[in-house]
């Protein structure tokens, strides 16, 4: 029985080569790692280098050397003898042994390799550099990490490639490594007390970690499996986990509770019969959005139930809200003129709005309070749309004319742009020929007189085109 002392993979390879060349069977060798020797041996054991005889290099699959390099870093003390037994079998009649993953030796080696690979992966993932505040021009980064196996040399080249333009050191209890932007230098193990204990950036990192966590999905077991608890002490963000978990149920509840959408739409207020008279009556009590709270009354559409043309505006204004009829204010006057020029009798068309309540903001002026028109938002438009749809269904017009972008977008979609799409006849779900043109109010607001006249002409032309 020979006793061989090895520390590293290279020691083992040298020894194994010689033993194999001399035909020493695995059962005749006792492999001793560093720690065991000092415990049981007073006299120094023969080292790998002390074995005489240069043997011929045995031919083994490349995959085995790769496997052995990994297994050598495992902390299990039986690794050297297991590797030698494997080498022996590979060179004594079982060259395909590595393929037979169900073999006990192969199985055990594979598990050991897996443990080492996983540990390397965890090191790549969980090393956290801290910037050293040296005041010097060159930034210095230091990390302290505690791997399960002796993997520093296997993992260090990765960090050299990744952080090549950076001065960094990784300290572990067994070994340390430093990169000076040219080469790697290995040194002694370092206790955690010698590593820097904070970095100004950790606060930002924790803020990110807390925000990216979705409290509606909690899977603690999955987290712990991938991020073993023994690594938590070196991960700054891990200090947040308890709090995040404690708050999660309440936060998820709050997410579900703060449902700000329209609890209702006008669909809930639809009358049994879809004729215009029933619709108008039902719409008077609509509470589908909050606009009814401030507006004077619902301003429903008006006009011939047999109309060939339906005109759709945005929403009633101040005058309309007080009088209860659509397009009776200044914009209504302009629309009347335009209809007349286009040769259309207002009594032959049906006029309505996308939103049926006036939305406004109150301001104090020297002459008292004034109600300033506000654009309805998409929630209000969505809540009110069933009324428009019911009106269109009851009338079945041949042409729908949308006045302005706010009226057009609910029918054409948000891609619609009034400047580029004005006057085009398009097919929508509500009517085969739907067109959009300027809202009379937009013409009134136009400061440039030339442009205003042009818009006026375009409005008349667009109306005339559908006559």
């Amino acid at each position: 029985m020979q006793s061989i002392h090895v520390e590293t993979f290279d020691d083992w390879r040298d020894a194994a080569r010689r033993l194999l060349a001399s035909g020493v069977s695995p059962t005749d060798v006792q492999w001793i790692g560093g720690a065991e020797r000092s415990l049981f041996d007073d006299a120094p054991s023969p080292t790998a280098a002390g074995l005489g005889g240069e043997g011929t290099t045995p031919s083994v699959p490349k995959a085995f050397l790769e496997l052995a390099r990994y297994v050598a870093c495992h902390r299990e003390s039986g690794r050297w003898s297991l590797l030698y037994r494997m080498l022996w079998r590979l060179t004594h009649g079982e060259p395909h042994l590595l393929q037979v993953t169900t073999d006990d030796d192969v199985h055990q080696l594979t598990l050991m390799r897996k443990g080492v690979s996983r540990d390397i992966h965890k090191m790549k993932a969980f090393v956290r550099f801290r910037k050293l505040e040296t005041g010097g021009a060159e930034e210095q980064f230091i990390a302290w990490h505690r791997p399960d196996h002796r993997i520093v040399r296997l993992a260090a080249p990765f960090f050299a490639r990744r952080f090549s333009g950076m001065h960094w050191s990784i300290l572990t209890p067994d070994e340390s490594v430093t990169w000076d932007q040219t080469s790697l230098h290995y040194g002694h193990g370092v206790p955690v007390s010698e590593a820097p204990d904070e970095d100004a950036l950790e606060d930002l990192w924790k803020a990110y970690y807390a925000s990216i966590f979705n409290p509606a999905r909690v899977k603690v077991a999955a987290m712990k499996r991938e991020m073993p608890v023994r690594h938590w002490p070196t991960l700054p963000e891990a200090t947040l986990i308890d709090d995040l978990l404690r708050q999660a149920p309440a936060r998820a509840d709050a997410m579900i509770q703060t449902n700000e959408g329209f609890a209702e739409t006008a669909a809930h207020f639809m009358p049994e019969h879809g004729d215009l008279v029933s619709l108008r009556l039902a719409a008077a009590t609509c509470r589908a959005c909050s606009l009814h709270q401030c507006a004077t009354q619902t301003v429903f559409g008006e006009g011939s139930p047999l109309a060939r043309i339906v005109l759709v505006g945005e929403q009633p204004g101040d005058r309309e809200d007080i009088e209860g009829h659509p397009f009776v204010g200044p914009a209504g006057k302009l629309l009347d003129e335009a209809l007349e020029h286009a040769g259309i009798d207002r009594r032959d068309v049906y006029i309505t709005n996308v939103v049926k309540h006036f939305k406004f903001r109150e301001t104090e002026t020297p002459r008292g309070k004034r109600r300033l028109h506000q654009k309805p938002d998409s929630r209000e438009i969505y809540a009110c749309r069933p009324w428009l749809e019911a009106e269109l269904a009851a009338i079945g017009p041949q042409v729908v004319v949308c006045l302005g972008a706010t009226a057009a977008q609910p029918l054409f979609g948000r891609d619609f742009g009034i400047t580029k799409d004005r006057g085009k006849v398009m097919r929508t779900d509500w009517c085969d020929s739907t067109i959009a043109t300027w809202h009379p109010a937009a013409i009134l607001r136009m400061q440039d007189a030339v442009r205003q006249a042009q818009m006026r002409t375009q409005l008349v032309d667009d109306l005339a085109s559908v006559k």
Binding site: Y209, M223, E264
Partner: protein, 417 residues
């Protein structure tokens, strides 16, 4: 608003996005001094929702002119808003990366001003990282709907991966919840990226050295459970995307309740296990040669929640079994529940030298509790007697507790069955 506050708002807004992979680029960009992309991506942390933190996943801004109902950033939502400057994102990425917190940047944005303007902002972040910081780490940019093709092509020069979100499984769903988005536009953008990728590959083959273009390919995300579209439609859409657009990944994101949600959306999320089943089924389509139609066996067109899709398929196709582990082909072995692609490869290797008995199968760590009902081994396998029995489903089904704690969570990201 300081950077910390912005980070809180703009990371919070990105937390509903499921995509996290940081792999697929095989080599690091030449000339980089900080950052690498090699091999598989690395998850640097995990949050208590079991999902990994691999990338700095943020929005450039959560202001948005669109009004997609499932999205917390839609114009009509009253969620707090913030906007990063390009330099702030560049600096955050570099500083986080240097401390090894992250594997790269995943940048998305709400749409401000116009699609092209927004896309230009995303591009300038990526370009600055590459050219000024000589950053070689991973960058994933989410393209902005309706951005012009030339901008998407420029983005592909700086990014490792581009994604165009399909958002919802069918055109009808889009119409209902994202009326501003159109399927042809989305697919047009995907096809544009695909063409450019193909072009780059052809030039490489011909011996030229074209500039890098999204070396990690393109991916997409689909929200599941916001509408009642069944799984079979979800999977059909996914397989079309894999075959027509050559996507690397389709991410399924179980619709999560969002604050300030529209009332048309469900208040509760669908069980996460549904999302997990979709990943499993997706895996079967990509690596196991299954077709979307055959995977979904249930009458309601949805995947079974209590058993995995491969087991469900096997139970519905018992005439296909038993499969002989010592004689059957690779394709046949791949269809056995509990035996994964890696183990199929091992089995084919081992049986060249020796035949496999049930003990060997256990050593390979196949899920023997499922596999045993469907395979012939070199020794006697008594479990095979159950193959034609009515109660096979309940026998092969994993315990519910196991399913939730281990089965569902473990492969939720990889999707491996």
């Amino acid at each position: 608003m300081d950077v910390r506050d912005k980070l809180t708002v703009l990371a919070d807004a990105a937390k509903y996005d499921a995509s996290c992979a940081s792999s697929g680029s095989k080599t690091t960009r030449p000339g980089s001094t900080i950052g690498s992309t090699e091999g598989m991506g690395i998850c640097h942390s995990y949050t208590p929702d079991g999902r990994c933190v691999s990338l700095l996943k943020i929005l450039l801004t959560n202001y948005c002119i669109y009004d997609c109902q499932y999205c917390v950033n839609r114009i009509s939502s009253d969620t707090p808003r913030a906007r990063f400057t390009v330099d702030e994102v560049v600096s955050l990425t570099m500083e986080f990366y240097k401390r090894n917190y992250i594997e790269g940047l995943f940048l998305s944005s709400g749409i401000i001003q116009t699609s092209d303007y927004t896309m230009e902002q995303l591009i300038s972040v990526a370009k600055k990282l590459r050219t000024e910081q000589r950053y070689g780490g991973y960058i994933h940019l989410k393209t902005i709907p309706n951005a012009s093709q030339s901008l998407i092509e420029e983005a592909g020069l700086w990014a490792d991966r581009l994604s165009v979100n399909i958002e919802l499984p069918t055109e009808g769903d889009l119409y209902k919840l994202a009326p501003e988005k159109r399927k042809p536009q989305i697919e047009g953008a995907m096809a544009g990226i695909r063409d450019k990728i193909d072009e780059t590959k052809q030039e490489q083959k011909a011996g030229f050295k074209p500039p890098r273009f999204t070396p990690a390919g393109q991916s997409t995300q689909m929200i599941v459970g916001a509408t009642d579209t069944p799984d079979v439609e979800v999977l059909k859409t996914a397989s079309q995307l894999y075959s027509l657009q050559n996507l690397r990944r389709v991410y399924y994101s179980a619709y999560s309740p969002i604050p300030h949600a529209d009332a048309r959306l469900p208040g509760q999320s669908p069980p996460l296990v549904r999302e997990h089943r979709l990943y499993q089924a997706d895996w079967l389509i990509r690596f196991y040669g299954f077709d979307a139609n055959e995977i979904v066996a249930e009458a309601d067109q949805n995947l079974s929640l209590d058993i995995d899709p491969k087991l469900a398929w096997a139970l519905a196709n018992r005439h296909y079994f038993p499969v002989d582990v010592n004689k059957s082909s690779r394709e046949e072995l791949l269809r056995v529940p509990g035996i994964g692609a890696r183990n199929v490869k091992r089995i084919l290797n081992i049986r060249r030298f020796q035949s496999l008995a049930s003990g060997d199968m256990k050593k390979l760590r196949v899920a023997w509790n499922r596999a045993k009902f469907f395979v012939l081994t070199a020794d006697h396998n008594p479990a095979l007697l159950n193959l034609d029995k009515l109660d096979l489903r309940s026998k092969a089904k994993p315990k519910t507790k196991q399913l939730l704690l281990f089965d569902a969570a473990s492969s939720a990201l990889s999707g491996e069955v």
